[in-house]
Symmetry: C2
Subunit: 343 residues, 2 copies
């Protein structure tokens, strides 16, 4: 088994730097588009056979060192009782956004086996089909990021509904965060028990906050999720997008691996985090539009700077963009493997 | 004359911390909305009498220590030959976005007196009406931020057209940046000659870049603008939004004052910038939705941390939001004045 990724998560010695890509399964792959031609996005997430198929595609095509469950971060939000639709133009939309206590009251804490059985099934299927070739990563949105979608009803420019709730109705906000924290813990625990060998927690919108608000209102819930999951003994990766200003707080999450977005030099991030934490990242997804020799240069720079940390998993600084050339992605993966062996 | 703001820009001793707010004139003020009821946004920008009127409103209403010219950052872009319209939903839209060399070729470098006479007139009118009560700040978008609007045709999610041009057609991108740099220099020089007593350069979209790209492809043009303007002997403020990851590069712009957005603790920013630079910022604009006593706490915290710098001008970490309560803004301004005197 190629366990380089798991070893890197634990900070163990490895022969080369493992690499996977956020959104490595998806719209930039012709093979994914072929599957999607016959099924809509949400139905695909809930179809274990097809979800497993698209999860495996990038492992074959790109030669990455880990597979990540194909799903959507709003799946557990739907299971909590909200209506979810995907709009081509506006992305995910949740009708009747959460704005008061009675709306939070109505939210259920889902039973994963009962309410999201397809997740369990997909993971079990994947572990069988992967035949231990590479490890399987499970994932969830972090409580705060899920809360923003639930409060705004989708994505937002200024996240003012969210911040107003945080600032003016902290009782409602905390109650929502508590329910989300319990949901995320049971959702991820179920994924691990089904076979996920590592977990990534996506805090996509953490970067919209002032550091004081992240520290006081968000971090305690992340810590709670991480400490509960640690009982399951698999590596926990925490990725907060736009994290440059909150790294010293993120350090306190307790996660084994910290994902870094592309807006900070990974060397600077390692300095902030200290040498006892494994880092993951952080090529700008749009750098894949550079000519191949320039992509190689960036890969080398990131590898060289990542070396200083306790361990380094190569990844993009955010999800891969739909317009990306598969050829360039393959060149990037090969460059990571090649140049990290040479070191 | 209240020259506290200018003294702070120069790092001189002051009795209290001066304060102004990005977008202090605008949609959150009933008096502004009354003016806008009879005139559209772009026409207002080009009407010296009314533009001066709305520029003065926050000076009277809020008691801030500086006025900033009411205008739009895309005014010089329109003068370069692009068609500009404002959509209520999508914000500014530029038709026929710049995507190739011949499009850049067609762009003019405007003659400010000839092509934007209203800017000169508004500034002259304002200096007369301000009667030296508080200083007047002129402003422009930075070359890169203007380039993003011109290349994307408006704002964008991933700025992929911009990055593709930077990465795949650097000749076109550099030619555009050169034309923009000349435009910004002549535009701001004309503002200073007309009476602007300080200048703020807004690099709203600098934060979308990886540090290496900011440093190599953007910073040289900012440096050029700053060094040319320094000949005019007024303070230069450079504000890059989402700056936490590029502060050590921003330090090299040569600007007298560095504006800090709200996503980084201002104390951390001062550490990165060193004690020889004046800082401006950085209350989260949505923190104005907190109860007043909490706003006061945040003001005190920022004042206390800003004290360590060579000088500190209080401001928001980005533009004031339209939904903001005027009462809370006034409370914030009073808190800045009160608690900085106590220090």
């Amino acid at each position: 088994m190629n366990d380089t990724f798991l070893k890197a998560c634990r900070g163990e010695e490895i022969e080369y730097t493992p690499v996977w890509l956020m959104r490595q399964a998806g719209r930039y792959l012709p093979q994914y588009k072929a599957v999607r031609a016959d099924i809509d996005f949400l139905a695909l997430c809930k179809n274990p056979r097809l979800a497993a198929e698209v999860t495996l595609q990038p492992v074959e095509i790109l030669g990455v060192d880990a597979a990540i469950l194909f799903s959507d971060i709003l799946i557990p939000v739907e299971a909590m009782g909200m209506r979810l639709v995907f709009s081509d133009k506006q992305g995910p939309l949740l009708s009747e956004p959460i704005r008061n206590m009675s709306a939070v009251d109505k939210l259920m804490i889902p039973d994963v086996e009962e309410d999201m059985p397809f997740i369990i099934e997909t993971i079990k299927l994947l572990r069988k089909e992967l035949e231990n070739k590479v490890p399987l990563i499970g994932f969830s949105g972090a409580p705060f990021t899920l809360a923003t979608y639930m409060i705004e009803g989708g994505t937002s420019k200024n996240y003012l509904h969210t911040k107003k709730m945080m600032f003016q109705h902290s009782g409602v906000f905390n109650y929502l965060m508590e329910k989300l924290t319990l949901t995320v813990i049971s959702y991820l625990t179920a994924q691990i028990k089904a076979g996920a060998q590592a977990i990534q927690i996506f805090d996509t919108w953490a970067g919209i906050l002032a550091p004081v608000d992240y520290r006081e209102l968000i971090l305690p819930y992340v810590k709670k999720v991480v400490s509960e999951l640690k009982k399951e003994k698999v590596p926990i990766i925490y990725f907060a997008n736009n994290c440059a200003g909150i790294l010293k707080d993120i350090k306190k999450t307790g996660a084994d691996v910290i994902g870094i977005d592309w807006r900070i030099d990974i060397g600077d991030a390692v300095k902030k985090l200290g040498k006892k934490i494994v880092v993951q990242g952080n090529l700008d997804p749009s750098a894949l539009f550079l000519p191949k020799e320039k992509i190689e240069e960036r890969v080398k720079d990131i590898l060289w700077k990542g070396e200083v940390a306790k361990g380094h998993i190569f990844n993009l600084g955010h999800g891969i963009l739909p317009e990306t050339s598969v050829e360039n992605v393959i060149a990037m993966v090969e460059a990571v493997h090649k140049y990290s062996r040479d070191n």
